[in-house]
Subunit: 352 residues, 2 copies
DNA sequence: TGCAAAATCCAAAGCGTTTTGGAAAATGAT
DNA sequence: ATCATTTTCCAAAACGCTTTGGATTTTGCA
């Protein structure tokens, strides 16, 4: 508890009104007194009490994030930290706070309700949307500005979202592999009740169809995206009678696991078997130093966090503007993990 | 903005006072009316406005976490997400909020100051303490309850902390390797201006000394703990004229990199070269499925988060009790990455 | 100089709670 | 039936800020 406005005003022989206005940049205060006030505030390390301010203004200057911790598979999504970091930057630049609520996913809906009913936040970010995600309807009904990180297939009503082009991203990656001559391409995906995983799968399927290939269900796996999953998936897939010559992975960690399994089998990545992974550009999972370890579809989730935060702030400052959307394209970067399919000449020089 | 207390009171023909007391469990209210009030509150989904409540009580029911994002090496510590998850659980159980502030590390001190001056939090958690960390003095001076996740060598004044026994942990791991006959043991550490890294190094050195070995500076590396660092460190170390036969790693990700480099060199882990890593038991970095991939010193950082949160809550609810401390031991789990040093019979059967 | 307009300041109300200090009603003892 | 207690409730103040509606002073212009 620092200095209070009243005290500061008293020490300056001014009314609280004037001091408040001076600090908040209202025009009806003399330039000289404004400076006097500002200096005094600085010296006293005065910061208006957030609670009192928001009680008076009705705005909290806080954005809420609810993270559901599923009791069953207790995984904290690793992209979470970087996304939050990006969002946090934007918030602190704008003078906003971030309030986090981590709840068992059975209480998730109530967590959103509570935050809003208690007047704790001006807006929210929705993480990890699933297909037909009910949170979107809930929040629109509650009338709170919010932005979804991702989209939710099946939800028709308009809402604000920011997403990467998962479909095109995985379509391109698949095409790239096809051009290298690969015909049996495995998809090692995240859980496909997650919207992003579903879209990636669709992109992969579309590319196969356009190439006139029928997808083989045996080559498609989904699970929580860990290194261990990548390892077991690749191990099993390589033991098939007709194993894949290429892999598409949904995360760097999974790709690590793929690589380990491939090495175990005595394959060399980029020569015997190709791998493309999605790379969220996580700060602690750099994809190689100079030349990337993995050929990857890359998009910084930290940037996404920053942008999503800016979007929700914009929704708050200009409420009338209707849903905002932002679709970010990924870049396909070529690393050492891809090469022509063994025993087949590439159809065509791979475009970019 | 949900129902207000006044409205609820009006709808019940009661005064706000009575309704407040009924809901907060004060004795001076009839059991029947209390029930009536509680039911009505439930029906209306009434939640007291956090801001108003904390303005009135002087307590915010919020704990602050400041995360510094260094502009130079923009790494978000991967343990952060799991720690936060653990803490978040404890907070939401206790009806507390978590407010997060992510700032460039040049503004870090000011971020702590601000949070407190603005009356935004009742207590704080300090992340990633360095040697002689100035934040500890700052917060004690400001008089806010706080708990440090880790310790800060060089800070003498007492403070509350929760830490794992990094020293003993790495001492034991080193001893384990020595018992397996290893004599040249490399340490692939985190940045040693971090307190935890320094302690691990000391534990390692102590074990060597006790075994009558002089540490070789060429075998000790430190950097940001990424897979890529692990890879480059191991690659360089294995090219030494007299390469190590064992590695100690400070994180699972680094260990992944070590393993990749070793494989590149044609070594088999656990036979040609041994590896022990610290394992924070991160949810998305499981150490194998049945039998651990890596022999490891394990301690759940999520548990640590939970406990640290409980400690700060306890400091708040009982202010007089002086500094709380908690030293957690790690468990040394044996996986597939360790074995007897090549060309030397183990001194002794490894205890444990 | 005089007067309207602009500039500068302030008192007081209000935001949604909790809490203090009673008041009114019910109860118990005599 | 009377008085002292205890129950049960309420009016009003307070938390620290913003904001409305004036009041006072200064400025601009004729």
């Amino acid at each position: 508890m620092g200095v209070t406005l009243k005290e500061l005003a008293a020490s300056l022989n001014l009314s609280p009104t004037t001091v408040s206005r001076a600090l908040n940049g209202y025009p009806e205060v003399n330039a000289k007194t404004r400076k006097r006030v500002r200096d005094a505030a600085e010296r006293a390390n005065y910061h208006p009490n957030t609670r009192a301010r928001s009680l008076a203004t009705g705005r909290t200057h806080a954005i809420g994030h609810v993270i559901a911790l599923s009791d069953s598979h207790e995984i904290v999504n690793p992209v979470f930290a970087d996304f939050i970091a990006g969002a946090g930057e934007a918030y602190s630049r704008a003078g906003y706070e971030m309030v986090l609520s981590m709840v068992p996913d059975s209480d998730e809906a109530q967590a959103y309700r509570d935050m809003i009913a208690r007047g704790a936040v001006d807006g929210m970010i929705v993480h990890g949307p699933k297909l037909n995600d009910p949170r979107i309807a809930l929040l629109t009904q509650l009338g709170v500005p919010f932005v979804v990180h991702g989209r939710s297939s099946g939800v028709d009503a308009p809402y604000s979202w920011l997403d990467i082009n998962n479909n095109r991203s995985f379509r391109r990656a698949t095409e790239f592999l096809l051009q290298l001559g690969h015909r049996r391409i495995a998809l090692v995906n995240g859980l496909e009740n997650m919207d992003f995983a579903m879209r990636r799968r669709n992109g992969y399927l579309q590319a196969l169809h356009e190439a006139g290939l029928t997808p083989d269900p045996a080559l498609m796996r989904q699970a929580e995206m860990t290194e261990v999953f990548g390892h077991s998936a690749a191990t099993e897939l390589m033991r098939l009678p007709d194993p894949p010559t290429a892999f598409l992975s949904s995360s760097m960690l999974v790709a690590y696991g793929l690589r380990r399994a491939l090495v175990d089998q005595g394959c060399r990545m980029g020569r015997d078997v190709s791998v493309i992974t999605h790379d969220d550009d996580l700060s602690y999972l750099p994809n190689g130093r100079d030349v990337p370890l993995f050929t990857a579809t890359r998009s910084s989730v930290r940037d996404a966090g920053r942008k999503a935060a800016e979007m929700v702030l914009s929704l708050i400052s200009a409420p009338g503007q209707g849903p905002l959307t932002c679709l970010m394209e990924t870049t396909l970067i070529v690393g050492e993990s891809t090469g022509p399919a063994p025993g087949s000449r590439p159809r065509d020089t791979a475009r970019q």
